[in-house]
């Protein structure tokens, strides 16, 4: 049997998705659903619900982005300065 004869069938909710290269993008729907559920029981005035959800999502993603930049600087700049590798 030739390898190109086999195709992987994908059944939603049964088989895992093959999006290994884009795993970090999953934080967006994850934070959105957390915000929708959490703000549903936290906001006092439901008229401001979607504004609160949006603020929650932006805050979490913003902090994550800042942390990512910070850790990138630590790993690529500070650590090589503090502990330079030979060669």
């Amino acid at each position: 049997m030739s390898s190109d004869f086999v195709t992987l069938a994908y059944t939603p909710f049964v088989d895992a998705m093959s999006i290994h290269a884009q795993w970090y993008l999953l934080i967006v729907p994850m934070v959105f659903f957390v915000a929708v559920g959490y703000k549903a029981v936290r906001v006092t005035d439901m008229k401001r619900y979607w504004r609160n959800v949006f603020a929650f999502v932006v805050q979490v993603l913003g902090v994550m982005a800042v942390l990512a930049v910070g850790f990138t600087i630590v790993i690529t700049v500070l650590v090589p300065m503090l502990a330079p590798m030979p060669g």
């Binding site: 909710f13 998705m17 795993w23 659903f33 559920g37 959490y38 029981v41 006092t44 439901m46």
Partner: protein, 204 residues
């Protein structure tokens, strides 16, 4: 005081608590907070569904290795999580006859019933020739599997907050915000406590 809020004051709402255990958001719906209940349901089930969509049914597993620890969080979603786990254990797993262990299948394995149990057997040649890969579902691997299990566990923890809000439908933060935003007066004992803590002599 009518603050315009749909928050209810005081006591334990046992009926809402029981309904919240049965289905995320149902507790709010039966206590008259339909809008909040629907949004809570969308949040919890959306997060749980996202986990299943990304990691497949393998993301919910109460009996396999370290996955069982994730299931402790996932179980807080309620009967939905237990239902998914039941389907996973009984319709997607089978026994490995060489080890006697219940496990997920591998590619080119068929799930067959030997009269007593479902077992994994090598896929018959005719089915391989027909281009089949077998009966096993594709399990999540690496980061995607972790994210999928995390989504489902987060859904459980989120549902715990929603359950508590349905069971005990008052919130200090919510009431305080209502008082300030509506220009209302705080209860006398509350004002006294604040004044005592801040050293405000007029409040005392």
């Amino acid at each position: 005081m009518n603050t315009g809020s749909d928050r209810h004051d005081g006591g334990v709402n046992a009926v809402a608590g029981i309904c919240a255990v049965l289905l995320p958001g149902l507790g709010h719906m039966v206590s008259g907070r339909m809008h909040r209940g629907i949004l809570a349901m969308v949040g919890v089930l959306g997060l749980f569904g996202l986990g299943l969509l990304v990691g497949g049914i393998d993301a919910v597993d109460s009996k396999s290795g370290t996955d069982r620890f994730w299931f402790m969080g996932q179980a807080m979603v309620g009967p939905v999580a237990f239902g998914v786990d039941y389907v996973h254990q009984n319709h997607f797993k089978a026994y490995d006859m060489s080890t006697g262990q219940l496990r997920t299948g591998n590619p080119f394995e068929a799930r067959v019933h030997n009269g007593a149990h479902w077992i994994w057997e090598a896929l018959p040649a005719d089915r391989i020739e027909a281009g089949e890969l077998g009966d096993a579902n594709v399990p999540g691997l690496g980061r995607l599997n972790e994210i999928a299990m995390l989504c489902c566990a987060l859904a459980g923890m989120l549902n715990l907050i929603i359950f508590l809000d349905a069971l005990l439908p008052t919130g200090y933060g919510g009431r305080r915000e209502e008082h300030w935003s509506q220009g209302g007066k705080l209860p006398a004992n509350f004002v006294h406590t604040i004044a005592k803590n801040t050293g405000d002599k007029e409040g005392l």
